[in-house]
Symmetry: C2
Amino acid sequence: MMGRKEIQETEMLSAEVEQDMANLFQALSNPTRIKILYLLKQQSLTVTEISDRLDVSQSAVSHQLRELKLARLVRNQKQGREMIYRLDDDHVHQIFHMAIEHVKEIYNYE
Amino acid sequence: MMGRKEIQETEMLSAEVEQDMANLFQALSNPTRIKILYLLKQQSLTVTEISDRLDVSQSAVSHQLRELKLARLVRNQKQGREMIYRLDDDHVHQIFHMAIEHVKEIYNYE
DNA sequence: TCAACATATGAACAATTCATCATATATTAA
DNA sequence: TTAATATATGATGAATTGTTCATATGTTGA
């Protein structure tokens, strides 16, 4: 009798793409950063505004924004002594949307 | 002179949804797990098959599959002494697809 | 029944992550 | 120029992560 299935050529991602994807998801894998992104999904904000709304220290917000920027999930723009942050592009919205759908499907909230 | 913008009501995610999303992305945030998911995107496989193709120890693969299953990214099905793993649902394909698009846009490969 | 095989899991340890604290840099207003 | 404000960042330490090793559990074939 034959095996479970025929042998199939296996396509692989390059190590580089794998690592870049892992880094992207890593940047998304923290509740504080999720909160920040969800705020910025609604409107662009300064560091202080984010810090106030989330009740997270200025330093912590700044550190997290740095990570988000590295992963190109947010962009920033200096205005006087403030730094205004916004979501980087439409992919971020879409990934976020898919993720919400996924967790809603898995966990039956409320 | 008025401020940068009008005050706007801020919508928030529940702490539960935030944490669940963070967990989902956390499960996706590791190169080995990315590799595994990319294999399973192409065909369902047993633990040993995954281990052989990725040249990662049986134990490591098993541990990682456990995490992926917890995040409901993969399903499994026992067949004799083997355990066959596959992607859980279509969301996984879509999140994966968005992520690849995102990194391709950011990093100009090749 | 027993040996071989497939998978799962607990312990341990190195590496990474994240918040906090202190402080640096830059901009504005007085 | 100086004080106040906005942001960034390095060091530190507690918590988490991911691999390896050893071993347990479960299944099959001889």
